[in-house]
């Protein structure tokens, strides 16, 4: 062993320590040099003699002093750093995207119905008058056609065209009932989520386009009691609460009998609040037993088959669930709104 070996060791140590940024790591290096490198130097010292032993020993001791001072220093630093470590500082922001609340609710509804053996169907948003009205037992040229403010496509000589060629934006998802049944054999269980249109001035509860979820179940022996059971289960799952439903008489050209479906208010548990307008019930759905004329439009024989159909406003349910007070927010693309979901 030569005294230059100690110089080399010192250089190597300094180089290694300088390269390292963290105190913790530097502490480790110091320890390694004292416990491994230097101790082997001291071990081999005993094989040396006189002058060289004293010279190298002195140098090695100096180096040990240097390293252990540094170690003390680093220990202090690490201790300080650990003391200063603030677990309450905010987490680093991670920017994720989000899925629209209407999509989320629609998927939730779909999952519930899929569990009950329903399939999902779709149909065109740009519909013709035959499917939107005629096939659904809307009498031609009757005020009932005006109940839904229809948005028509501008067409030349519209009045003279047959209803299959007169276009409009569908006012409900019900045309898909007939489209779906027309080229298939019963029984049917489907839901039809989708965008629908009304030509009315927009305000906090009305939009020119919004979302509906249509349901249809047709078989050999379907009853109002079956409807109650299917829809009752759906709402319990949807609101994740033991809500009840009630049926009130109503009128739709495409169902007979027809009902309005109210669900008991899950917010106040029927005690009365602003959501249910103090009645304990929220109107959520129009429904009924499919009118025989609708089955006939779809080439299904009403003497063998019957069923129920319903339509649910997705926007309205989303508003109730998230306590959103303005339907227009859904179609604003406003990130201050979207990023909350």
């Amino acid at each position: 062993m030569k005294s230059e070996d100690i110089d080399q060791l010192k250089d190597r140590f300094l180089k290694e320590v300088k390269k390292e940024n963290s105190s913790k790591e530097r502490k480790k290096i110091c320890k390694r040099y004292i416990e491994e490198e230097l101790s082997s130097v001291f071990c081999s010292l005993k094989n040396l003699s006189g002058e060289r032993k004293a010279e190298i020993g002195k140098k090695a001791n100096e180096l040990r002093k240097l390293i252990s001072d540094l170690l003390e220093n680093e220990k202090e630093k690490v201790f300080q750093a650990e003391k200063e470590f603030d677990i309450t500082l905010p987490g680093k922001n991670v920017e994720l995207g989000s899925i629209h609340p209407i999509t989320k609710l629609q998927k939730k509804c779909e999952r519930i119905f899929l569990r009950m053996g329903f399939a999902i169907a779709e149909g065109p948003e740009l519909e013709n008058e035959w499917y939107n009205f005629d096939a659904l037992n809307f009498e031609e040229d009757h005020p009932v056609r005006e109940m839904q403010d229809t948005l028509f496509v501008k067409q030349k000589n519209r009045e003279e065209l047959p209803s299959q060629e007169r276009f409009l934006m569908r006012t409900h998802t019900s045309p898909v009932q007939v489209r779906y049944m027309k080229d298939r054999e019963p029984p049917f269980r489907i839901i039809v989520p989708g965008r629908v249109f009304r030509n009315e001035a927009t305000d906090s509860s009305h939009e020119i386009n919004f979302y509906q979820l249509e349901g249809l179940m047709v078989g050999e022996n379907i009853s109002v009691a079956n409807f109650r059971s299917v829809v009752g289960y759906f709402f319990k799952e949807l609101f994740d609460a033991d809500v009840g439903i009630r049926l009130r008489p109503s009128f739709f050209p495409f169902t007979e009998p027809s009902f309005e479906v109210d669900v008991s208010c899950s917010i106040c548990e029927k005690k009365g609040c602003s959501v249910c307008k103090k009645t304990g019930w929220i109107e959520v759905m129009g429904a009924g037993m499919v009118h025989p004329n609708v089955l006939r439009s779809a080439d299904v024989d009403p003497s063998y088959f019957n069923g129920f159909a319903f339509g649910l406003g997705i926007d309205r349910i989303a508003m109730i669930k998230h306590k959103i007070d303005d339907i227009r927010l859904f179609y604003s693309g406003d990130l201050r709104f979207l990023r909350q979901f």
Binding site: S98, N221, F251, P257
Partner: protein, 667 residues
């Protein structure tokens, strides 16, 4: 419709339930009561009459009948009978439009003293929102509110000639109505005329000429039944809608005319001290036939899912004034004349169900067989796509399906579908693309957010010739990415929904939406599935956008088709990989893709991965050239590659690259 509580009470001897209880009862079995309003001397119930029941329930009599059936109370019409005098009614009725007028009745009352109505009439009219005028006019309004039959009275002395004619208006024929407004008519409108000119717009509004006033002595009263479609057409053509025209538009039974006529004439005789002329002029060529409906009790049970006792069923139908014959379980029924809405078995089932009470129908799960239907693959593609964009930091936006004139400029005018009378010009055209919506979102969000990253999946609409079509598209917009960052995200997206092998190519489509140099079309197997690029300067100026952004639009129906649900596992090799770097000098216009294809081809299967880690031009690099730095990874599935083998492949790749005349591998 506004109903007077006091008016309804007049049909019952028994006391009605209090207004709020009555409203609850109506709501559960009949119609919704929107509001109960207390006035000085009455309660007003604002009831939402279902349109199927407009033919009998736009009347207090109809609503009273319903209350009688559901509350099991006894109702009766206050007795009113006409005592005719000796003087015969004078004149003739000539109905020229047989298809538009199903019945026309005329009666006369002489010696009438026009004056103020008794207070109960005025009170009930006011509750229903009708202004009292004089006793004769008030009675016609009163009886309409009572029975639902529009009536019209006129001063016989003010009519010229000897007959009343029901005909079509002549083109440009003029009339001044009771409210002193002037209308020019056309052939779509029906009029009631004397021998010379119109005295009223049939079923819609009376004319001012034969108006009943203080000097009136002989009143002629009309109770007619006009075809609903004709009145609807006429009402649209003149632009007037009245309580009368509304009732005709929904349709009322012909029999109602005589009920209302009898009551109104009796009341005028009684209150205005007139004397009824003998005889009725009644044009009524064809009596309406009522449907005869047969059904079994079991059918009712099957539809409702509850066993309504036979006796109850019979009682309910009788209380609703159906004619009922029952033979054990077999029913044979005829609806009362006023129920135009009852046409088949299902209509009768509804009557039984709602009167019996839907609350008595208990839940019963369906016992139908489940037929497996088509798989919903396209819905999974949509869900997966949305999740992928969410994970890539994008927010899902929903925009209107419409655009305004301002946003329509980049599109071919002939392809735009225009709306008929939209409520706002914001909704003038159906959107031919999702991009205008996202651009609008960018503009609106710019002041609040530095980075805007959005996506939307929705339908767009175009027409070719007169053929309209719609297609589901997917669009994205990001102000946080540059071209290649966006391309990277697109790659990630396609990778996640398992569409591999998309390629990018120059895009000739320069519709004005994109910067023409920074736009690419995206292809799958040679077919274009969309394009993306930087927003054009023109758009940024027009929309006053502050930030630059990337956007793109894709045919989502294609994406759904190509989307796969299951990925095949690529086995991890147990053998180590070896790495070699290549620095390649190429002319500046050489595309990366060309080089990549060459390396890939030369490397074969064992070349597992090619990484471009640097593109450099400038110092040390000759003019007009650039340097691509690649890192190549070699790995074999079945053995450890020796460095000799790796070098051989490496040399082969270099040789292939150097075959190209302007390319040079730097060593």
């Amino acid at each position: 419709m506004k109903l007077s509580y006091d008016f309804i009470q007049s049909f019952f001897k028994e006391k009605l339930p209090p207004p709020d209880q009555l409203a609850d009862l109506l709501m559960m079995h009949f119609f919704e009561v929107e509001e109960i309003q207390r006035t000085r001397d009455d309660f007003v119930l604002d009831v939402d009459i279902l349109s199927s029941r407009a033919s009998d329930c736009l009347s207090h009599m109809g609503v009273a009948r319903e209350i009688a059936a559901i509350a099991e109370m006894k109702y009766s019409l206050p007795e009113r009978r006409v005592k005719e005098g000796r003087e015969e009614i004078f004149g003739k009725v000539d109905v020229e439009v047989k298809d538009d007028c199903h019945r026309y009745m005329l009666r006369g009352i002489e010696g009438v003293k026009v004056g103020e109505s008794p207070s109960y009439i005025k009170k009930r009219l006011r509750s229903c929102g009708v202004k009292p005028i004089n006793n004769v006019v008030d009675i016609t309004n009163y009886v309409m509110l009572e029975t639902g039959q529009p009536l019209h009275g006129f001063d016989a002395a003010k009519i010229e000639g000897e007959k009343v004619v029901v005909r079509r208006a002549k083109k440009r024929e003029k009339i001044v109505t009771l409210d002193e407004k002037r209308y020019e008519l056309d052939e779509d409108v029906l009029v009631i005329a004397d021998e010379f000119s119109p005295i009223g717009i049939a079923g819609i509004k009376g004319g001012i000429v034969p108006e009943i006033d203080k000097s009136t002595e002989t009143v002629y009263l009309e109770a007619a039944n006009f075809d609903s479609k004709s009145i609807r057409k006429g009402s649209r053509s003149v632009g007037i809608r009245t309580d009368a025209s509304l009732r005709f538009e929904y349709g009322i039974p012909c029999e109602l005319a005589e009920v209302a006529m009898e009551r109104a004439v009796a009341m005028i005789c009684d209150i205005a001290k007139g004397k009824a002329l003998k005889g009725v002029i009644d044009y009524y060529p064809e009596k309406t036939r009522r449907p005869e409906i047969s059904f079994e009790a079991e059918e009712v049970r099957n539809i409702l899912g509850v066993e309504v006792p036979l006796k109850n069923m019979e009682k309910i139908l009788r209380s609703l004034e159906f004619k009922v014959q029952r033979n054990n379980n077999a029913f044979y029924v005829i609806p009362p004349y006023f129920r135009l809405d009852i046409k088949e078995k299902e209509d009768v089932v509804e009557e039984i169900g709602r009167t019996y009470g839907y609350e008595n129908i208990k839940e019963d799960p369906p016992r139908e067989i489940i037929v497996p239907r088509e798989r919903a693959g396209e819905f999974l593609a949509e869900e997966d796509s949305k999740r992928s964009w969410e994970a890539l930091g994008f927010f899902e936006s929903y925009n209107y399906s419409f655009i305004n004139e301002k946003m329509s400029f980049p599109f071919n005018r002939k392809e735009l579908i225009e709306m008929e009378k939209p409520v706002s010009l914001e909704f003038k055209y159906l959107r031919p693309s999702l991009l205008p919506g996202l651009l609008r979102n960018l503009r609106d969000n710019e002041m609040n957010f530095k980075e805007v990253k959005l996506f939307e999946i929705g339908k767009v609409f175009r027409k070719k010739e007169e053929e309209v079509s719609e297609r589901k598209m997917m669009a994205l917009l990001s102000s946080a990415d540059d071209f290649h960052e966006m391309k990277g995200k697109l790659n990630k997206f396609f990778e996640r929904i398992l569409i591999d092998e998309v390629s990018y190519n120059e895009c000739e489509d320069k519709g004005g939406l994109f910067n023409e140099h920074h736009v690419a079309k995206v292809l799958y197997g040679g077919e274009v599935i969309g394009c993306f690029g930087e927003i054009s300067e023109d758009i940024r100026k027009r929309l006053k956008l502050k930030s630059n952004a990337m956007m793109g639009e894709f045919d989502f129906e294609k994406v759904q088709e190509l989307h796969k649900e299951t990925k095949e596992y690529d086995p991890v090799s147990r053998f180590p990989s070896s790495r070699r770097d290549i620095a390649l000098l190429v002319p500046q216009e050489t595309l990366y893709d060309e080089v990549l294809q060459k390396i890939r081809k030369a490397g074969g299967k064992t070349l597992r991965n090619i990484e471009l880690f640097d593109v450099y031009k400038g110092k040390e690099i000759p003019e007009g050239m650039k340097n691509f730095a690649f890192r190549l990874y070699f790995q074999h599935k079945g053995k450890t590659l020796t460095s000799k083998e790796v070098n051989r492949m490496y040399e082969k790749i270099i040789a292939v690259l150097e075959e190209v005349s302007d390319w040079k591998v730097r060593k």
